[in-house]
Amino acid sequence: MNITCLAPPLVSRPALARSRAAAARNALAECRFCAHDCGVNRLASALGPCRAGPECRVFSAQLEAGDELELIPTFAIALSGCDLRCDFCITGLNSWSPRSGESLRTESLAQKAGVALDNGAKTVMLLGGEPTIHLPAALEIAAAMPVEAKLVWKTNAHGSSQARELLDGIFDVWLADYKFGNDACAERLADSHDYTRILRENLLWADTHSELIVRHLLMPGHLDCCWRHVAEWLAKELPRVKVSLRAGFWPAWHSARHSELRRPRPCGETTRAFQLAAALGLNLIP
């Protein structure tokens, strides 16, 4: 499906987001928002890998302070469902099931976000699950936010070119997870194919279209196969990008399916991971 998008500089963000939301709603008839590229008709309740229909549900909406310091406090809106199947997902049930949570009420969320911003929140963050699979709703939420709000798109960076086109110019910051340093780990832990190519394509695009922060969660036993490859690629291809190295892995959801993920991250690997980042000159942010 071809989608005609208004160019970002021509209209205000709310107007742009509203027009994109309408285009995205129509695109649900042949959904290609994520890299699975399944093309199912979600308007007719056909289900692709994400299992999401036309409805968007919300499993959390609250002020949070656990993200990167330059983004907090943030009013974080978490949409149910995801296109990846990470066994270690910390919000497993809500992320794997688009039927979790409550029906989206955009006006109520906008009101709560406005209160949060008035009380000192720096940003409004859309996350999941994965918000890409709910692009129509995500864009409607963006349209309802105060014009001056700094909007953060927290994503697994597994979206399609169509999704990127719809998102262009809407969000101020892309906070993108770079989870796996190789396709074998991505396939084994998240049932994701061709992960590296897709991920890198999204990161390179985001770096030229918005502010980008790349986040990596250190996983036990994956320092050399994942973090080292992620760090080396970032140092080479995105040397000035902000990198958030997260050391708080805990064995959530189906982590026990994988022997190395049955424990939290040991201190020794964490120290080595930060030493590697320093040696490569990465722009780490807290």
Binding site: V58, Q62, G66, L93, E102, W250, P251, A252, R262
Partner: protein
Amino acid sequence: MSRQASHQPGRGRPRPRESSLEVQPTATSRRCHTSPPFLNPSQPVATVEFLILSDGTVLAHNLTPAMADVLRALNPDDLVMSHRARRHRS
């Protein structure tokens, strides 16, 4: 996020987790929340999850500013938590 604390935070009773979701632990995980729908404007609800390790490390998910205040009070030497706490942030 890794935080040092010597106290198990939480208000209200921990909600039992479904057995299918449970990972046999090396530590204790609890979800602390109140029950009304979080989207009801008259009933604000915040949810924070903690994993407390045997060495006293507290891992937090969906950390709220209010809970950051609590963790900072428990360990004032944790400089990173100071930046996350409301009362200290500029």
